[in-house]
Symmetry: D2
Subunit: 376 residues, 4 copies
């Protein structure tokens, strides 16, 4: 599909936070999504962006954004926007995002509040892009031109992309998923994790994280049928750890095959399955889409967060160390691998951006000439 003929104006809620900063970094070079309005708390409203923000990205804030005046998160300040990205904390996100949808805005949120809403697609663009069609049901039900699309949890993204590849090629093969994550500090925002907790240390607990991975996987890997998502029947168990890494969540994943599996794929078949997985195709309409959803790395000690998180601009998942799970009798019972996801790109802001590109491509966001901008 061709690139959109016009640009779309973007509003960012929670623009001063870690996810908001990543939205700004990623959008500053986007071909057709243009930053228009920045929203944050009442405390920041009225200030210039860089005055109100502790900018913690390793690339400088774009000049055009520095001087923007921050607005409070009220739909009335965002009337020029075609698309709303929300990097709000969950403790405030719910009612604000509801209000924006009610005001006919198209909202792409990173907050958890709406993820379990049966009307809201929990959309990982390189795993379950077709779930975007749930928006038809949502709009019909809530009776607005607006809608809400939810990102998954950042760690969940690293699990469901390879799982989706396997489901597509070997449906029903996997019965159990064990995930142990080693997650970056940026996932906790700023100031987030105290340096006294993480220097020379690992914290083997992240509040709520394990439950999110376990629950969200079933919805994302489920089927959209008759206007509703049927969750996949799958046992997922997660253990989440915080490590001294700035960006990039690493996960050791063990999949156990269903005992009814007649034959199981070889390691090289799984490698091919991952490398070939193409749920969406990079192109002018989807400029943020990775060249490949999954990059399988050959070296035995990869992926590594510092070295591999930027592959495909952080929109791809990297996988390595694919090896059979063999029991003591020599039978293959499953497969193990290591997976890396850039937690603030594919795992957060980038997922929202790619979801928005997908929504435009699929016709859920009309060009603004046709009046699609939220209005009050």
């Amino acid at each position: 599909m061709a690139a959109p003929q016009q640009t779309y104006n973007v509003g960012i809620l929670g623009a001063t936070g870690t996810v908001g900063q990543r939205f700004i970094t990623l959008l500053s070079t986007h071909p057709f999504l243009k930053i228009h309005t920045l929203g944050a708390s009442e405390r920041s409203a009225g200030k210039k962006y860089l005055v109100a923000t502790k900018w913690k990205q390793s690339t400088p804030c774009h000049d055009s954004v520095k001087e923007l005046s921050i607005k409070s998160c009220d739909p009335k300040h965002f009337s020029g926007c075609d698309i709303i990205f929300s990097g709000l904390d969950h403790d405030v996100a719910g009612p604000i995002e509801t209000a924006f949808r009610q005001a006919n805005f198209k909202v792409f949120t990173n907050a958890k509040n709406y993820r379990r809403d049966p009307l809201v697609p929990l959309l990982v663009p390189t795993a379950n892009p077709t779930h975007i069609n749930l928006l038809t049901t949502q709009q019909k039900t809530v009776k607005t031109d607006g809608f809400i699309v939810a990102n998954s949890n950042c760690s969940t993204a690293g699990v469901v992309v390879p799982m989706a590849a396997l489901q597509a090629t070997y449906p029903g093969l996997v019965a159990d998923v064990d995930v142990v994550t080693m997650q970056a500090i940026s996932g906790a925002g700023y100031p987030g994790v105290s340096s006294m907790d993480i220097l020379d240390n690992v914290v083997p607990f992240i509040g709520g994280e394990e439950d999110k991975i376990e629950w969200e996987s079933g919805k994302i890997l489920g089927h959209l049928r008759d206007g509703a998502i049927q969750h996949l029947d799958l046992d997922v168990t997660a253990s989440c750890n915080r490590v001294a890494v700035l960006d990039g969540h690493l996960a050791c994943i063990t999949l156990r095959y269903s005992s009814s599996s007649a034959s199981v794929p070889s390691e090289s078949e799984i490698t091919r399955c991952f490398n070939d997985f193409t749920p969406i195709v990079r192109g002018p309409a989807l400029p943020s889409a990775p060249r490949r959803a999954i990059h399988v790395l050959d070296d035995q000690d990869r992926p590594q967060p510092r070295l591999d998180r930027e592959i495909d601009g952080g929109y791809a998942v990297s996988v390595g160390r694919i090896r059979n799970l063999v029991d003591r009798a020599g039978s293959i019972r499953g497969v193990k691998f290591v997976c890396l996801v850039h937690n603030t790109v594919l795992g957060a802001a980038g997922m929202g951006i790619l979801n928005a590109e997908l929504a435009i491509q699929q016709g859920f966001i009309k060009p603004s000439l046709e009046g699609s901008r939220g209005n009050l």
Copy 2:
């Protein structure tokens, strides 16, 4: 049992390395084990200890050791020693340790060379202390007064101590063990891991480590019967990661119960099982034994390497986050927990020291008056 009436002279092979330094640190305050001779490579031989050593412990080297003259690792230099601790690298350890045993020395080694020898006890003192009796077979077979006792791999120690507790109380309960480790840099010695590999990073691979955990667990948890070890039938699968931690290997462990288990223990029963596990008893004969083999920590974010590795002087294993593994039908299928082992204390030098205390207590090392010292 009472404390030994006399002291035992100790020789340390590989004294300049990371494990050797930990031996020296731990022994400098030991009530009856006295550092007598330090051995290292030919390159270091003849030099004073602190001249030849890049001391990397966070406590200063004991004054009495600084000035000791290093010997090459030839048994003839160790004639005054009752006990030999070996912190040698595996690429040189094999023939040297054989030579020491042949010269009637009692050798406690941290190297991997002898671990899979059916005559050598793979001894984790707080897991399988009775395996020390395999020494009777060994001495009979190799026909020397000397012997070799092997430490387990450092990560393995963190797995087998809680597993031994469960085996003792619930034999046959566990069928599968999944281990994901996050291991400290000191485990790789000095200079070991490059700072460019670990700062802002995790390396999801440690050469040979996974195989060690998987293989050694079966031997350690096995039974000594008729003078031989029968390995435990158990599926262990491991994924090993290096993280930016100085000391202390953390592991996320998932145990799956045998499908034939009629009833399964509750989380609090497992907690009690761990806390009550007492394979050896701290006392004058075993001064390095931890007060408890396993400390179960209550806080949901513990154990943490920096905060908990020194519990019981590093000789105990800490466990936290004990929680049932429940499938989507609500059935308990196993248990998950987090485990921490101090990799250079219980996981290396401390294990050797405690093994030596045990060997003395059990009569495998006679007081030197009776001529037990190695002689040539």
Copy 3:
């Protein structure tokens, strides 16, 4: 002087904070100072200590302290105490400490509030112990049996101990002091420095720190004459940086000699001057005093925070890399060296403890039998 014949009961204000935790760690093995009462904010009052505290020390909290019930920082709760240690934040410390002195308590504070009070000794026990005699003036003036002794800033301690050694041997030699510090995160308390600010980073600014070093040095190195401190005339300039170190402030110090100096000491004379400096003598009365106030380390890459901060239990200052400052004409213009101070031992809690030992030794705290305990 002999050890005190009796014990002294100690109250700790701000007991849950980083400095408070260090007080507890250091006092748990003290021969005659016994923890009696723990004070913290109203929010913590009534709770058991370990419930109210995020314990972040690498050694476990002593059992006898865990269960103590926290009191609010009101003198009435501390009536059984002979000595009060304050680890309070400066934003609350002032009036509380005043109230305790008014209630006849002997207060040793780590807060900055009273440091510039001309009646309060700014006491670094291994630099200016005789300034304790300013207490005579203080007690006379404020008309109480209580008093306040102030610790210096943690970084200042690392500067003034070697400076005091030089002043004692070469009075008037030094005219200018340049200090560049690299300070540990524990100096900022908990949660303190965000991990996102310090991982893979240095922060070249610590609010207020440079001014403290510059000002406090003059008072500490000054002379007590006629019941008042005459500040030393000295130009001190400081640049303070935060680095990814848990404990231990490192400083690069450049001293420029007064142009009027006829002759200047050699590097080895300065080494000797530092090693020989003995302002107080370790013994039963001063059990926390370091064996040497300054340890000069020979290796060219020392002192290092991780390796050397525990020298003499953290009560000594380590110095290394003593080398002349030579101008391009070949003349010696000063001297440069590297200095390390354990910021929460000698730099905070330990300084308070050693100051209290000194106050007992010098007769400023009478045995409690004689009624020295604060009363209301």
Copy 4:
């Protein structure tokens, strides 16, 4: 000046090392410098680049480079190259670079071997670009079409750029320079600094570094007169520390003014002097030149390595915290500031690239059509 009309083929010596990797990263998008031949040790020769290299950059290696076959560092393998960049270690660089020059190659080296050669410009392009004209003398003397241009030491670059700005505006103002550096681990190459040396630590020593800063500053800030460099008469003293930072050397710099200075600039005048300093002008001929040689940052806690090292692509120096050095009598004696240089961009590979652009612009490298390529 217009952009070159043609491209130049580039050979990289030491291509597998840390500096070599940065050359490849920076050149992969260069408009007119094209990677043609990669050289490394005999051990690597014949292998494909990514097979022989432990790639440690945080962006993936460019596809076109991965498959290049490595050559040994013999001029005969580089006959298609117009420009040679050397990232060789100093222990091998000398004779190899001599051989390349002798074979008429234009060599830009990061090694220290030739820095003190009076015929070789020690060229920091944003500090002393006119020194490139020393090449006329060099070529005349060594009688080749080839030449050698030396980069400065990485830390030196951070010192001389602001110093050059001050010299240009306030010649003779500064008499003394005190530099304390906090240097990144990438400066030591790979594997370089052991993780056991730098985690939770600072190492206050880097072999040879202080002498380099002290000596090189005088040459770089000197004057080219009558075909030779007259060193600047300046007292520079440095203290170098290694910190846990991946890239970016930070320095605290204290400048003392000459006592003969009649008037001294204000802080804002120095700020302006830095911001306005434009020794070379970014443009088509100098595409790697920073927009500004020095960026003065306003925030009181900047520059910081992680946040600011990428300013202007790493080719600019960042400065912050400009403040007068005031003595106790209130007189301004100098100025202090913090300075950051990206040690592998401006401090190494980037400096070489920018020097090469400058050499092309100034006519020292002719288009290859005219036969400027090295030939044998």
